[in-house]
């Protein structure tokens, strides 16, 4: 038996015993959060001042900052445009693994184009970038999972820009996940991150200069940017001194705030106010590239809200027509998927991009054969990997 179930069971009993207490506390915090949202719904300037004050104490503060819409707004989507080109991209990757027979990396990005009301089929593009030898290092540092993921994110947005240039406006582009580029900003990988960030900003600028709408769609978001804003608002002067550790609304989520099943703030298809993102990386996205977001109730039924966060750059926020078109397109894309709303084209981009284990094996074998044909030495895989690959009674392998 791989797990000590006696031990785990004891812990599960303890968890169960505390459930009612935790739920009561959570309900109180939720009521507090909802009240704070209502009371401060129209106080954008005051909220901004509070955020500025908190940032003085904690430069790493990450929260939402309101713009000009009420905090508790529920804004319906405009009519879907008659004509628009929609482009989605998604990527997957193979990370170099020293336990395998040969080390290589691969970034596979799938892009899919759909023209609204054209009656035409979609167009699909796949870019597969194989990385080998010196390409498996950045500034002398071996590519980590995070660095390959960084490369994937950059390639996704680059493909959107590349595909979008062939189409007249309006063009709406989106990827899965935040629009903000994530990666290690400290340590030995930092240089690679900032190099990628510069390229990424170049791509965003190209999209902006062509008037392309772009967004990142975060399904079931985990960040609680608006709740954090409410915590900042709630903080008394003495709390403000230690704002980083001040979490009176811990456990309350933005998803609940906007999509409470009993009383959802957002009606089906509606979006929230647009917020800017206050964070340490704010300075990395200046001017029209500044990062913003809104929440979207992608659910189609009154009592079954499904909240997603949609991240957008400033140039989309500043143009109400662009913002509205993105909103309408995303609602329509989610409706296509029926009972489990998620943008259809993002799912198709994922289907296009995903690399199966079989494909990974095929690439590996092609590489091994080519190297051997040219007289290069190829090692065996590690014995550790070989043992793991044995069939038989084994433990859970994530």
């Amino acid at each position: 038996m791989a797990i000590n179930f006696q031990q785990v069971r004891e812990k599960i009993h303890q968890i169960g015993a505390g459930a009612a207490q935790r739920q009561k506390l959570l309900e109180e915090r939720r009521a507090d959060a909802r009240a704070l949202l209502r009371v401060h719904a129209d106080a954008q300037d005051a909220l901004q001042e509070r955020v500025d004050a908190a940032r003085e104490v904690d430069a790493g503060l990450r929260c939402a900052t309101p713009l000009n819409e009420k905090l508790d707004s529920s804004i319906p989507p405009p009519t879907l445009p008659e004509q628009a080109t929609l482009i989605a991209a998604d990527g997957s990757q193979i990370t170099p693994d020293r336990h395998e027979q040969i080390q290589f990396g691969l970034v596979n990005v799938g892009g899919i184009i759909m023209r609204l009301n054209s009656g035409e089929s979609t167009l699909i593009h796949t870019d597969s970038v194989l990385m080998y030898d010196l390409e498996l290092f950045r500034n002398g540092v071996p590519l980590s999972d995070g660095m390959v993921a960084l490369e994937r994110d950059l390639q996704e947005r680059s493909q959107l820009a590349e595909l979008a240039k062939d189409y007249d406006a309006p063009v709406v582009t989106f990827t899965d996940g935040p629009i903000e580029l994530w990666g290690a900003r400290e340590g030995e990988e930092a240089k690679a991150y900032y190099e990628s960030l510069e390229k990424y900003k170049g791509v965003l600028s190209r999209l902006q200069s062509r008037g392309v709408i772009t967004a990142g769609y975060v399904d079931k978001p985990a960040s609680d940017l608006v709740v954090r804003l409410l915590e900042v608002v709630k903080a008394a002067p003495e709390d403000m001194q230690d704002i980083r550790n001040y979490h009176p609304l811990l456990g309350v989520t933005d998803r609940w705030l906007f999509g409470d099943k009993k009383e959802p703030l957002l009606e089906p298809g509606h979006r929230s106010a647009v917020f800017s993102i206050q964070s340490k990386s704010e300075k990395n996205y200046p001017g029209v590239l500044a990062l913003h977001f809104f929440y979207l109730n992608a659910g189609g039924e009154e009592k079954n809200p499904h909240i997603a966060r949609v991240e957008i750059p400033r140039w989309v926020v500043d143009d109400p027509a662009m913002l509205g078109m993105l909103h309408a397109v995303l609602v329509d894309q989610c409706r296509i998927m029926g009972a489990k709303p998620y943008p259809y084209l993002l799912h198709r981009a994922h289907e296009t991009a995903v690399v199966s284990n079989e494909e990974k094996y095929q690439v590996e074998q092609m590489l091994v054969q080519e190297l051997r044909r040219n007289g290069a030495d190829v090692e065996d895989g590690s014995y550790k990997q070989s043992a793991k690959d044995l069939s038989g009674r084994t433990g859970y392998k994530p």
């Binding site: 759909m114 609204l116 089929s121 296509i336 998927m337």
Partner: protein, 197 residues
């Protein structure tokens, strides 16, 4: 010989084979149609389509819960996604060096062999005699009555001016072969009467 390609072979046995095509190709083949699979040289296997099967997948199951499906989404699914139509084919004979045999083929076609729809000339040539009927009537997996009726209806058209004459002869042959199997005979004649009607 007209070359209407309907798909490629997925898997095969001596008594039949399964062919797959993407949905966009799915226009030519129909239930009961005679198809052929060239094996190279002067050899080819003939068969009748007795089942056309379209599998779903997770995305399709989800899309059917949506209020409506746009033309673009429909075409994307049919033309761009790998959801093959599977056609089951009953082997009914083969051709070797220009001669038709109503026997099981010496070997089945291989994976990815191209499968063609037979044109009128092929059909008329293969159905000159009725020896292949026994494969249909003895088959346990096929809807015998429906398959015979669909085949006779389609094949008779290939005989042009002799169409009615061929259909009568084919029906008489079926009656002769099933004279000791009353339930199946009734099933076949019932299906044939629907076709004639």
């Amino acid at each position: 010989m007209t070359q209407i390609e309907i798909g490629r072979l997925l898997r095969a046995g001596t008594t039949g084979f399964i062919t797959g095509c993407s949905v966009s190709q799915f226009e030519a083949p129909s239930f009961g149609a005679l198809v052929r699979a060239p094996l190279g040289g002067q050899h080819q296997v003939y068969g009748l389509i007795y089942d056309i099967h379209i599998d779903d997948d997770g995305l399709v199951r989800q899309l059917v819960t949506a209020d409506n499906v746009s033309a673009e989404v429909m075409r994307d699914n049919r033309e761009r996604r790998i959801v093959p139509v599977e056609m089951s084919v009953l082997a009914v004979g083969y051709e070797q060096d220009g001669r038709i045999y109503h026997l099981l083929p010496p070997r089945p076609p291989l994976s990815l062999d191209v499968i063609y729809l037979c044109d009128d000339k092929d059909i008329a040539r293969f159905t000159e005699k009725f020896g292949y009927f026994r494969h249909i009537l003895n088959s346990k997996e096929t809807p015998v009555g429906e398959l015979v009726a669909a085949h006779i209806q389609q094949a008779s058209l290939a005989h042009d001016k002799e169409s009615e004459k061929w259909k009568d002869a084919a029906t008489r042959e079926v009656i002769t072969l099933l004279r000791d199997d009353y339930p199946t005979l009734m099933s076949v004649l019932g299906a044939l009467s629907d076709v004639s009607g």
